[in-house]
Symmetry: C2
Subunit: 436 residues, 2 copies
Amino acid sequence: MIEYRSIRVALLGAGSVGSQVARLLLEHRDELAQRIGARLELVGVAVRDVDARRDVELPRELLTTDAETLILGADVVIELMGGIEPARTLVLQAIGSGADVVTGNKALIAAHGPELFAAAEQVGAQLSYEAAVGGAIPIIRPLRDSLAGDRVERILGIVNGTTNFILDRMDTTGASLEDALATATELGYAEADPTADIGGYDAAQKAAILASLAFHTNVPIEDVHREGITQVSAEQVESARKAGYVVKLLAICERIADAASGEEGVSARVYPALVPRSHPLAAVHGANNAVFVEAAAAGPLMFYGAGAGGVQTASAVLGDLVAIARRHVIGGPGTAESTHAALPVLPIDRITTRYAITLEVADEPGVLATIAHVFADHGVSVEQLEQTVDEVSGRATLVIGTHEASEGALAQTVAALAASPVVVSVASVLRVEGAQ
Amino acid sequence: MIEYRSIRVALLGAGSVGSQVARLLLEHRDELAQRIGARLELVGVAVRDVDARRDVELPRELLTTDAETLILGADVVIELMGGIEPARTLVLQAIGSGADVVTGNKALIAAHGPELFAAAEQVGAQLSYEAAVGGAIPIIRPLRDSLAGDRVERILGIVNGTTNFILDRMDTTGASLEDALATATELGYAEADPTADIGGYDAAQKAAILASLAFHTNVPIEDVHREGITQVSAEQVESARKAGYVVKLLAICERIADAASGEEGVSARVYPALVPRSHPLAAVHGANNAVFVEAAAAGPLMFYGAGAGGVQTASAVLGDLVAIARRHVIGGPGTAESTHAALPVLPIDRITTRYAITLEVADEPGVLATIAHVFADHGVSVEQLEQTVDEVSGRATLVIGTHEASEGALAQTVAALAASPVVVSVASVLRVEGAQ
């Protein structure tokens, strides 16, 4: 066993995201150590009230209410408290004491990004905030690094899951805003006070963050034009549907010519808009998020996934953490391509999959039973079977969908079918992927 | 004007991607310098035959056939020659001489990744290859960094644009494989010898790269099971369509239990498969690429965009280059969040957009003319107008779609409409976004 050095990680906040981050850090400590080349040691979790956190499955001894002291001993501080204060002061203290910072706090970055980035740059600290926009979806890093040599022209983002759930429900069921909101609340997609979501405030914070990053320009949250979905009616959604559109709450960041002066500027705005059904964003359903980016060289790109959720957002936090930690170890991207896992690469006959098989068979009694036997003999279970008979030729076509089975068993089944006297020909064999 | 230090960039290969990289480097040199905090100086472009490159708009004096000498003076070497040799030897020489390397060479990474990564790690050099998979789509960096703290379970990728174009055309037009391939060749989506694409070889290289990175396991190209699309028939595509599926050539990387032993392993494979129409991958049309990733914490994610094309792929190369160059400057992600561009943030009335307006109006002669005047008076051009009359109430509904106009003019138009005596009510005003 390799002896790894230790990187001290302090966690501020143990809400739905924070508690998942702590869990994953503890559960996957060995695997993460291999990936990083150093051990991530969770040195403490700052919470408001230790006794109130009995529900969270965290070792008691890690909990503290003294965030300021916790920060002092940390190499990396993860801030997931939300809100402006005390988060801002603590992040600045962490940077000041030499720690790198990971935050998922969109309100903080939208309101105080420039101050925090300047503080981090001054001391050479890393400050990452992938979780602040789009939950699990990698969008900050692609904008910051992957598109760093390109020129982003426009971003259209569905960045608030609650409102997308509501608008999608209105679109698919004809529900009123009120009813769709009630459903969202019932299913846990909307909070008791849904103002931040349906008023567009949450989306506006994300628009400010995306626009600032994409256009290398400070876009203050106050300059983001914001309209929520509170005025969207069932009639509007229905008319949109009939005309080939869907209503989506969009965060729009655009590099434009000033309509008055013609000079180059940027716009960040949030409002419900009609999106053509043919646009990739129209297919973003439920509480999912997606960010559509148009760049001068890359053309249109889309990033899609779960926009919220504790464990999903924790994935983004951990990605930032591992990327930061790797640079502690070797000052480089380092072990990202290492093959420490060294899992066996299995040949095709060791995987399981599903087959869709089309057979031409004789239309006579007993054929189905014979075919069914072939499947059963190889341990392959049939999920679906459809027979059509051609009266003229006296031949029948069988379309058979299997349950998941080993590729080896499936291949042997097909070979046995081809050799069966009742099978005229195996017309088609295709695997099925991506089905639930 | 700030005096930036210079980072010496050598480019190997000036094909469709390389010539675009050179062009963008030269055209955007000032903007890139601001982003990086250093100047990217293109010191030379190695080509096979200088005289044969008269078509490429590159300064003659940059061209050389002596790649080995060119490398020696470079801080960063961009390898876009393709193929294994001399690319492999040159990349190893570049790393050996202290340069960082950006490559878009999928054949090289798939066949010799471990050797190259080890060489880079040994001397602390950076080796980036975002352009090797998915063209402009950021997928390597998200897998390497954003998902670094997560556990990737499965990747389903449409990673070959040529075959997706062919299968999409077969699906939408009912064409045979032969005819669809002919169209692809005609339109420049398929090469004169399409074997690498339709045989699945290109997709298999990408599957090897993705699986190796996602599972931290060396997946040699020889271990990727490969079936191309040459056996896919118009009948299969048609049957799939009727059954609610679409045939896609998928690169599949999976963390699985060995069907024989039950032990953990990985599988990388390429074959045409049936994908349910409801799956996000089913909506990937034409020559586009998309990579669908399922991770334990993040859940399903999708990355979508142009999978090929010179300028699109050049975007990925430049992203790698800028990310590398930033670390030359300050050893950190650094100026990514800088606001050097400092563009004005324009208020909502300075943008241009399109409106969809629904009006209830009196059903009497002259109303349309009055309404049309209101639009004309504010310089707003009407693209579409639909009138429906309710015989009972004697009222008409007008649904009006405008051309792009300034938000200010549109808002004034709506105000004037609301005040017009012929307008009973402004029933709905929504902006239209994402339309062509």
